[in-house]
Amino acid sequence: MIRLENVTKRYGETLAVDSLTLDIPAGEVCVLIGPSGCGKTTTLRMMNRLIEPTSGHIFVDEADVETLRPEQLRRGLGYAIQSVGLFPHLTVGENIVTVPKLLKWDKERMAARVEELLTLVGLAPSEYEGKYPRQLSGGEAQRVGVARALAADPPVLLMDEPFGAVDPLTRQRLQAEFVRIQRDLRKTVVFVTHDVDEAIRLADRIALMRGGRLQQYATPEEILDHPANKFVHDFMGADRALKRLGRVKVSDVMRTDVPTVDSSTRAADLRSRASCAEERFLYLVDGSGRLAGWFDCADLADGGGPESAMTSVDWRESAVASDASLKEALSRMLEFGFRSIAVVDGEGRLLGDVALPTIEAALGAGDTHVAAADGQGGARP
């Protein structure tokens, strides 16, 4: 879809990009990563001709971009810039339809598109459409920036640190949304970041650069397992095994047939439940399936009363979302001292759980030994 052939950009003495060759297949997410000043932004901006290369050729859809009118080319490449750059005098809705307006769509189509895109990026259309950029938080503005880049449904998206300006929590939410959106839309995405975890989580392929030169271009697994040189090895970090967990989604490995009990059941009644014989933990769910807590059969066996065996929790705090990565799940488990953790959907409905042995298995050959599990699925200290 996008091909760079020996592309070089020189600023006086500095080689911002040095004979870069890159082939990005359609429908894939290519993450450009590397230390500050390594030429990521320059590379991205040469693709939509905001910067002209000193030498070399860039092809989009087999057409040499030099032969296209820049305006024409850019309208087909959605562009989300690092600093968002929303137009402050236009509403969120008007910002989003910038490109459709240039393409002279009719009013109904644009209105429908605004509603669709705001819903897609998780902002309530009725609430946000009429707001002005200065009324938005940083995270909301970045979502609008992404919606604006998507507006004319371009086959290619160029995103320069689109989640750069938000707190880590919002960042993770936006990443999860990106994964969800990309699963449906299958765009060709060139995504710039300097966050290794973000790259591993989002990329189909990672292009690691240094001083304008490409160091390695491969899938995240490949780059983690077989770094091409010492720089790649060091850049990806020492905890490569742990990072690999960032590639695995909780929903792909979780156990779904977890034992549940209605949370309105009286504690005393649980003692007689047969399920206690097989499982140590019973998840408590409310009428609509939301996680409300759990019941520990072991506590009962130890002679504790039924009340002390029952723990009430808030699903927002003591569970992970199904689109979280195993890395996140592990870090939550270590944080709470759990050996397994419940998995919920966006409304808090219990979907399953993940236990330490599962994570160990996902680590593959197991060059890292996470704290030994006691072997029992669903065990907690």
Binding site: Q72, Y79, Q82, G85, L90, T91
Partner: protein
């Protein structure tokens, strides 16, 4: 606004009320003369009878409003007393004129005294302070309408027509209106030409560094040349071109040149101040240079461009008076005529309309600035 409300005393309004009160009791309210040239005899507020005492009472009321702890009603109360002051003032002046002229010879005339001017100024200050604190604008508009109606009625029935200022007007009516017309058209044409030249120059200055240095330098130098000197200097190039050095042409050229600086400078600053990230986003989404300018940069620079136009308008309304020197019949003609005849009221007849024009131009362009600028750029958005 919030601070003025939370303060125990509205100091600005209090100062205005004191000024008005001083005007009522301290300075002569009106000045009478046996004829146009001789020295005047001052007369106190007593000459204005009941309306005069009402003025003094209202000034005290305004003072009380400014000093009394605010329970939310203060702005309305202060605005009402300021409006009442402004509405009763013409009736007091009219009554004073009628009283002082009773039994005097036909040449006798009554001028507006320092006290009356001071009262008017004080009322304006209270008005300003109250409208800053007021939450709704409608109250101010209603009060302004009331005052205007009161003045009109005072002309017809209140004896205001006996004031020498009004009598000068009666004599010079034709000259007055032609001067107002000339003044307005000269200012309007010059401002229009300056906008036609200045906005493109400002755009060019924001694009090309060399143009910026040259243009901003040149218009800056022009602004420092005194207006009379500029009119004199214009004679040379105009005569070289075979054009007249006097008349409307040099007038329009001079006023256009003076308007250029604020318009060019503010257009340039407005465009240059647009966040580069915003321009970058627009380019990256496939806007052409022109689309970027018209849809993004110009709307963002608009508040400053209107501000530059406002500054230019207010400046050249004043300078247009000087243009009378090169034989253009602006309001300056009345002022110079008054100087020549030592007739203060004739000077005033020329000066007052210029003040009104400047205030109206200032107010309406400020209003325009608020009306056309996107709510997304305004400070009051929450």
């Amino acid at each position: 606004m919030g601070s003025a409300q939370s303060r125990r005393i509205d100091r600005v309004a209090a100062a205005g009320a004191l000024i008005a009160l001083a005007g009522c009791v301290w300075l002569p309210f009106a000045v009478s003369r046996a004829n146009r040239i001789v020295a005047g005899v001052p007369a106190g507020i007593g000459s204005a009878g009941a309306p005069g005492y009402a003025l003094a009472l209202l000034a005290v009321l305004a003072l009380v409003a400014a000093l009394y702890p605010d329970r939310g009603r203060r702005p309305a109360f202060a605005l009402a007393s300021a409006a009442a002051l402004a509405a009763i003032l013409p009736w007091a002046l009219g009554r004073s004129a009628v009283t002082l002229l009773a039994g005097a010879p036909a040449f006798a005339r009554v001028s507006v005294g320092g006290g009356a001017w001071l009262t008017a100024a004080g009322a304006a200050v209270v008005w300003f302070a109250a409208s800053q604190a007021a939450s709704r604008r409608t109250l101010g508009y209603a009060a302004a309408g009331l005052v205007a109606a009161s003045w009109a009625l005072a002309f017809a029935f209140g004896g205001l027509d006996r004031l020498s200022l009004v009598m000068e007007y009666a004599v010079q009516r034709d000259l007055f209106w032609s001067a107002v017309g000339t003044h307005l058209s000269l200012v309007g044409i010059s401002l229009g030409i300056a906008l036609l030249i200045g906005v493109p120059l400002g755009v060019a200055a924001s694009r090309v560094g060399l143009v910026r240095d040259v243009v901003l330098g040149v218009v800056g130098v022009i602004q420092t040349v005194p207006s009379l000197a500029l009119l004199g200097l214009l004679v040379v190039p105009l005569s070289l071109l075979g054009l007249p050095g006097i008349g409307p042409l040099p007038g329009v050229i001079a006023l256009t040149l003076y308007s250029l600086l604020p318009i060019v400078r503010d257009t340039y600053i407005g465009l240059a101040g647009v966040d580069p990230a915003i321009v970058d986003a627009g380019r990256g989404m496939g806007m052409s240079r022109l689309q970027l300018l018209l849809r993004v940069e110009a709307p963002l620079a608009l508040p400053l461009m209107i501000e530059g136009t406002r500054a230019a308008a207010v400046t050249i309304i004043g300078i247009a008076a000087v243009v009378a020197f090169v034989g253009v019949g602006t309001l300056g003609v009345l002022v110079f005529l008054g100087w020549g005849q030592q007739a203060d009221d004739l000077i005033l007849l020329g000066a007052l309309p210029m003040v009104v024009m400047a205030v109206v131009a200032d107010g309406s362009l400020r209003w325009l600035g608020r009306a056309v600028v996107s709510p997304g750029l305004r400070g009051d958005l929450r």
